[in-house]
Symmetry: C2
Subunit: 103 residues, 2 copies
DNA sequence: ACAACGATTAGCTATCTGGCTAATAGTTCT
DNA sequence: AGAACTATTAGCCAGATAGCTAATCGTTGT
C-alpha cells in the first residue's frame, strides 16, 4: 500500500538533503531528470546517453549520483538498464528543506 | 519588460537555476540560509561567522556565493555588513524548476 | 593620530568533480 | 562458440571548490 499524497513526510534526514542537493547541483543531472520526466519517467541508459553530448561513461556516472541520491532507480532488463524517475523523492526532500522558508 | 507567459513568475533563466542550485549544494551555505531565516532574515557577517566552525574568510566566501546566486543581499552599515535573506528568490528559482515535476 | 574592530581579499594547498579513453562484464543473436 | 550489443568500471587528468593563514581595507573609538 503506497500513500502517494501522504500529509506527513517520513524522516528526511540531513544526509538526504546533502545527497539530493549535491545531485541537483550539476546541469547535466538536472537535465537527465527533466528528460526522464518528459519521456514518461522511464528510459534505458542508452536512450539517456544518446541525448547528451558527453561520453557514455560520463552519463553513467551522473546516473550513479542520481541513484545514490535516490532520485532514480535502476532495474536490469536483459542487457539494458532501465532508469526510472523517483518524483516522490525529489518532492519530499526538496520540499522538506524548502518548507522552512515559507512564511 | 519581457513576459513569457501570463501566469508565470518573471523569467527564471537556466543561469538562475545554475547559480541557485550550485549555491544550495553545500551544507554550510544551506545552513547559513536557515540561520538567517530563523534570526529574522537579517544578520551581520560576524553574527553569521560566529555560528560556524570554519574560519571567517571561509564564511565570507560562502556568503559571496549566496550573494552571487541572489539568495542574500548585502548592505554596508558602518563597519558591519548586514546580510539579508531573499526568500522570494529562493522560492522562485527552485519553484520554477521543481514545477516541471508536478503531476 | 592611532589602536581596535569588522570584514574582505590574496594566496596557498588538498580534495572533489567531471570529462575523457580503454578495458571489462553480462546478454543476445547467429 | 563467437560476434555484436548495452552498459559499467578503471584509471587518468584538468579545473573547480573549500579549507586555512596572513595581509589589507574601511570605520569607530580614544
Amino acid at each position: 500500500m503506497k500513500r502517494r499524497r501522504a500529509a506527513r513526510r517520513p524522516g528526511v534526514t540531513a544526509d538526504d538533503a546533502e545527497a539530493v542537493f549535491a545531485a541537483l547541483a550539476h546541469a547535466s543531472r538536472r537535465q537527465i531528470l527533466l528528460v526522464l520526466r518528459f519521456r514518461g519517467g522511464e528510459m534505458t541508459a542508452g536512450d539517456i546517453a544518446d541525448r547528451f553530448a558527453c561520453a557514455w561513461p560520463t552519463t553513467t556516472r551522473h546516473l550513479r549520483v542520481l541513484e545514490g541520491a535516490g532520485l532514480v532507480r535502476v532495474e536490469k532488463r536483459g542487457r539494458e538498464r532501465v532508469y526510472r524517475l523517483n518524483r516522490e523523492r525529489l518532492a519530499d526532500v526538496t520540499g522538506a528543506w524548502l518548507r522552512w522558508f515559507r512564511r
